[in-house]
Structures are given as structure tokens and as C-alpha cells.
């Protein structure tokens, strides 16, 4: 069976509709038995030997032709072929192929055992090469849709990493009775309460006792600047010059990043989730949803990286974060903070990214 190029797609006649579309979900039906194949579909049929030639080109010639003629053909073909080899039917996310295709998506993948035209959609997949970048806004936009959104990253050796784009669970049950204006001093880039109520640490999980984890009543408590800024804003600690002193120090040592981190920290605390430093995991925070006391602390559930809303991801950085979180059985979460969200007014956008094995 041969196909012919027609305006960027490949037309096949004969019994193509039964042979390719009805039985295997390739292409879209035209008049009669003719179908139209997207270039990746045609290339896959050529590779399998199910199609002999397109305008006289064999697989190798067509592949080279399409690499030149079609935007990102190589990486899209690799993902198409990989998902096919895993037993999925998928359609290019193009007008006429699928209803309401979404900008930025490359494929619509059907639930296993289903296909076009009316199969249930399992994932809408966007393909990127590892050298491309992906805007945080695009990822955040993609995952708001009803169908699950996924990113397929093709690395330089043509291996594929699939990432699921979702929304994290940020419901916590931690409640803390904050103390009233406990004296505290800003020392360099941390804050010390010399004689705090022990509950501030033991129940609220604020700070770290200067004596280490086994603290007793009256032990000095060190607070990070972001913890101290939160507590000062809530009049729980009292520093010379009020909460602005702490925020100014935070900005002095971290710049605008401090405001973004404070916005994310505040929203998490407001939701009953306790953020602590994620430094050992290379993140901004690790979080505990249900803290009753530090003595009965479970494992932290999320790793949070705080980013400006306009951030652009390098896929390799995403792979690093998600792989690490996966290895320590936590969920990787990105907090996207806009320029006007520094007051922690709930304007933080939350995005979870997890590894997907189709």
C-alpha cells in the first residue's frame, strides 16, 4: 500500500479505512475508504512495513524528509512510536483529528483498549526535546483541563521521560495556638528567641532549638527568617522595629526570592500544612500536613520549590527534582508566585509534577 503527500499530511486510499483506521486507530477518515495520516502516523506505518512508500519514499527517506519539513518531527515521532509500542492508540492533537485540540498539545492518548473517534482520553501529551524549555504558565494551564495532562521529554539519546502534571493536595490539619509577642532578636541571617514557650517548637514546629532536637523549656530557639517573618506578622514574636525588620533582612540576604518564599510559606501555614526547610533535598520546603507534636512527627509528604510565575523550566531541572522527590517518596510541588502575591493573599499557583510510567 502506498500513500501520497498532500498539504503536509499523507493520503491513503484502497481499503485504508478498514486496514489502518478502524482496526488500529491510525489517521482520520475522509470520503469513502480514504484516510489522511499525520506524518508521524505515516512514518510509523512505514517503519512497521504496513505501508510501503509515500510518494516513492521508504521509511528512511520519508523520515529524513519529514525531519526537514515538519516542526519537531523527530521527537514527536519517538514519542508516538514509544506509546504505540506500549499498546496505546493515540491521535495527533490536530483539528479534524480530535475534537477541540488544545494548543501546545501534541497527542491525545486514549485509555488502553480504546481509540478514535470516541475513545476516552487518558492523557493529553505535550512533547519537548530536552534542550527546549517549558514555561511554568503553560504547564499550569495544561493541568487545569479535564483530561490528565502529561509532558513527554525526549532526551539526547532518544529515551523518553513522562511527567504527569497535576494539582497537589494542600489540606493540612495542623492547628497552632501562637504565643503573644515573644521577644526575639535578629542575628545576622537568623532570628533567636532566647526564652520562648517550648510549645512554639514542640507543637507548632517553628524553629530549631539551639541545643539540638532534644529541647527543654527555656532553651533558646532559632528561627529561619521566613518563619520569623510569619510569626512577627502574626504578633507571635516581637522583634525590634516590628515585622518589617525581619522582612527587610530577608530581602537583604535573598532578594525578591524571600517575598516569594514567604508567600508560599504563609499559604501553607494558613492551610494547616507545616513547611520546614527542604535544603537537604535541594528544595525550598518539605511539608507536614498533620503535626500534633514534633515527637510524633511522620515523614514529610511534599517537596516545594518556589518560583516566580514567569519561570521557564529546563526539562533537565524538572527531571532532577521529580526523580529526587520520587526517590524519597515525596511529591514534587512547584509554587508559582506572581509579582503581586508577596502578601500571601492566596494568589500562589500550585503545581505537582510526578513521574508517569505508561
Amino acid at each position: 500500500m502506498d500513500g501520497r503527500l498532500d498539504d503536509g499530511a499523507v493520503r491513503v486510499g484502497g481499503d485504508a479505512r478498514q486496514r489502518y483506521y478502524d482496526s488500529s486507530g491510525y489517521g482520520r477518515p475522509l470520503e469513502g475508504n480514504e484516510i489522511e495520516l499525520a506524518p508521524v502516523e505515516a512514518a510509523h506505518l512505514l517503519f512497521r512495513g504496513d505501508l510501503e512508500a509515500v510518494d516513492g519514499m521508504d521509511f528512511r527517506e520519508f523520515f529524513a524528509h519529514a525531519t526537514d519539513a515538519v516542526d519537531r518531527f523527530g521527537v514527536r515521532y519517538l514519542v508516538y512510536a514509544d506509546l504505540r509500542s506500549r499498546g496505546f492508540y493515540l491521535s495527533p492533537s490536530r483539528a479534524d483529528w480530535v475534537p477541540a485540540p488544545r494548543r501546545d498539545d501534541d497527542f491525545v492518548v486514549y485509555e488502553r483498549g480504546q481509540g478514535p473517534p470516541d475513545g476516552d482520553v487518558a492523557y493529553r501529551v505535550r512533547v519537548v526535546g530536552e534542550r527546549e524549555t517549558v514555561s511554568a504558565a503553560a504547564i499550569a494551564g495544561a493541568r487545569t483541563d479535564s483530561a490528565d495532562a502529561a509532558l513527554a521529554v525526549v532526551d539526547e539519546e532518544s529515551e523518553i521521560t513522562y511527567l504527569d502534571l497535576g494539582a497537589p493536595d494542600l489540606d493540612g490539619s495542623t492547628s497552632v495556638d501562637l504565643p503573644d509577642r515573644v521577644p526575639a532578636a535578629v542575628l545576622d541571617d537568623r532570628v533567636i528567641c532566647w526564652d520562648p514557650p517550648i510549645s512554639l517548637y514542640e507543637r507548632g514546629f517553628f524553629g530549631r532549638p539551639l541545643s539540638g532536637r532534644d529541647a527543654s523549656e527555656g532553651d533558646p530557639l532559632q528561627l529561619s527568617l521566613v518563619e520569623a517573618a510569619y510569626l512577627a506578622t502574626h504578633d507571635a514574636i516581637d522583634v525590634e522595629g516590628d515585622s518589617a525588620t525581619v522582612r527587610d533582612r530577608g530581602r537583604a540576604v535573598e532578594g525578591e526570592r524571600f517575598d516569594r518564599r514567604l508567600a508560599a510559606y504563609t499559604e501553607l501555614r494558613d492551610r494547616g500544612v507545616v513547611p520546614k526547610t527542604g535544603f537537604k533535598f535541594g528544595a525550598d520546603f518539605r511539608t507536614y500536613a498533620d503535626v500534633e507534636s514534633v515527637d510524633s512527627l511522620g515523614h514529610s509528604e511534599l517537596l516545594v520549590r518556589v518560583l516566580p510565575a514567569g519561570h521557564t523550566f529546563a526539562p533537565r531541572d524538572l527531571a532532577l527534582d521529580v526523580r529526587l522527590a520520587n526517590g524519597v517518596r515525596k511529591t514534587m510541588v512547584f509554587a508559582l508566585v506572581g509579582d503581586d502575591d508577596s502578601a500571601g493573599d492566596g494568589g500562589v499557583e500550585w503545581l505537582s509534577i510526578t513521574r508517569l510510567t505508561p
Copy 2:
């Protein structure tokens, strides 16, 4: 017992030599029984209640004073106290305290059970706060010394991460008989050999078959640009316009980073170590020291991140890389490539960083 400030240190008389130096390794002896304490030592003795005051200041007052007066006092105190609490004796890396103190080091830590003046040195420790940066050159310089070098990173919540700075084992046993000028085509940002000898993949572990891992003779083989550049330089593949075509494409899509990666790739291959993409780990390469065939491949041993020699680390990025490598039981290695090393002439400096639990 009281001490007095004297030119940035604290002098203590009475039976101080026996009490603090001989029995516990604090300070350095002066005339008679008098000793001199560094500020972190004095603060630690004040905190423990073994010293009552310094110029009338108790622990809290002295701590605040020293934070203002002494560079990086807070983070250095935290590390000093932490290592003391783990049972180590350590001395400030200062002239008169230890022989031949090294610039950039903060403490000399003795082997467990030993101390000044003639204890064996276990680690020379440099302290950094998580918001400081550390130059790759300084790390590379530190680890060439005879004693083991370590970095102690104090995070915003005053938790400490210890990192061991070393040199990786780069001895591999992989030997490959390269083929002679196999035809290959540059397609976008990868290279394809349409009809390669299967040994190029199966024995040399170059590329990835277009059909996936179960390749048979004659299956097209995709090569990454860095693999192709290496093979073209060794006349193992033949691309139109020779090896410069591949390198030019590499530079077009990755910039100077491509030359650095090629230098590291080449040195690894020359040492019998096989580098493959480290993308899934967020690194440049993962490596296999002893490849006999892809069918009997073991786990990769190293994760390699390639950096310009002038790179400056943010401690958080270091923590991320080292933690990830540790979690997948690999060693994190940094390849530092200077501007004039793009020819892969062996000028790459290799640095391993591992987590240390003192």
C-alpha cells in the same frame, strides 16, 4: 571561671590549661596555665556552663556580641557545637592554633578520641551558610590536600549537611573496536546510522536503536550529538562534511556547553568508562566502568555534571545533586572543564562529592 576579650580572642587564666585544653581540647596554650580561646570555643564553653562570663557577658550576650564582631560567627558556631556534640575535638584553623592552616578552612577536626596538639587530622572543614556560594576551583583545590576535605553547609533552619570532597575513580575496563567510517546522517539534533554494525551498540554501547532496546542487525541506530562527535573524530562514522559538521550542530543547539561535554565524554571513553545520558537523573552523564555487552549491563556507577572550571556552586544545588546520587546508589561527580580543554586533551578536573555522616 571568667575570660576576657583580647584582640578578637578570649584569654582565660587560673587552671584553664588543664581544665579546657589538656582535658577537652579547647583553645591553645599560652604562657603558664593561661590559654587563648577562639570566639566559637568560648561561646561553646559559655553555653555548656563551663565558663561563666567573658568580660561580664553571659552566653546570650557573648553570642550577640560575637555575631556582630566576628565574620560568619553564627554558622561557624553551629558547626563547632554540632561536631562537639558528636564527640569530636576540633580546633579553629588559625595560625597558632594548628600547624599550617589552609586558607578557606574553618576547622581542623581530629580523629575520634584524639585532639590538639598532635592528634591525627580526620577532616579539614570549611563552613558555608546556604546562601553563600562556593567556587568549584576552591573545592577542587581543597580536596587535593592530604587530609580529607569537607564542606559543612548550614541551612536556614541551622541544620547542617556535611559533604566529603574527593577524587572519583575513573578507571574503566571497557574496550571497543570502533568500526570504519559507517555512513551516518545528521537529522536535527541527533544523528542516525541507517545500517550500522550491531556491535557499535551491543559492545560499544553507542546510541540507541530506533526500534528500542531489542535491536537486531541492520536496525537503524540513533546517536546523540556528543556520541556522534566522538565517533566522527575517531573516523568510526562518516557524516557529510566530516566531524566538524557534528560539532557545529552541537554548538548550535547547546552552545559552549557542547564542547565541555564532549571534552568530558572523550576523557571518560579514553579511560575505558562508558558515558550515557544522565538526563533521567538531571545530570549530563551516567557512567559504566566495565561494559562487555549491553545484554549484561550492570548499574551505572557515577553521575557526572559537566561545568565550566570557573563555576560557582549554590550549596542548595550541591545538596540536590548529592542527595539524588546517594538515593540511587551512585557517586556524584563534577567535571570541571577549562576554556582551552575543548579538545579533550585530558585537562578536565574531576571532583566527587558525597554525603558525610560524622
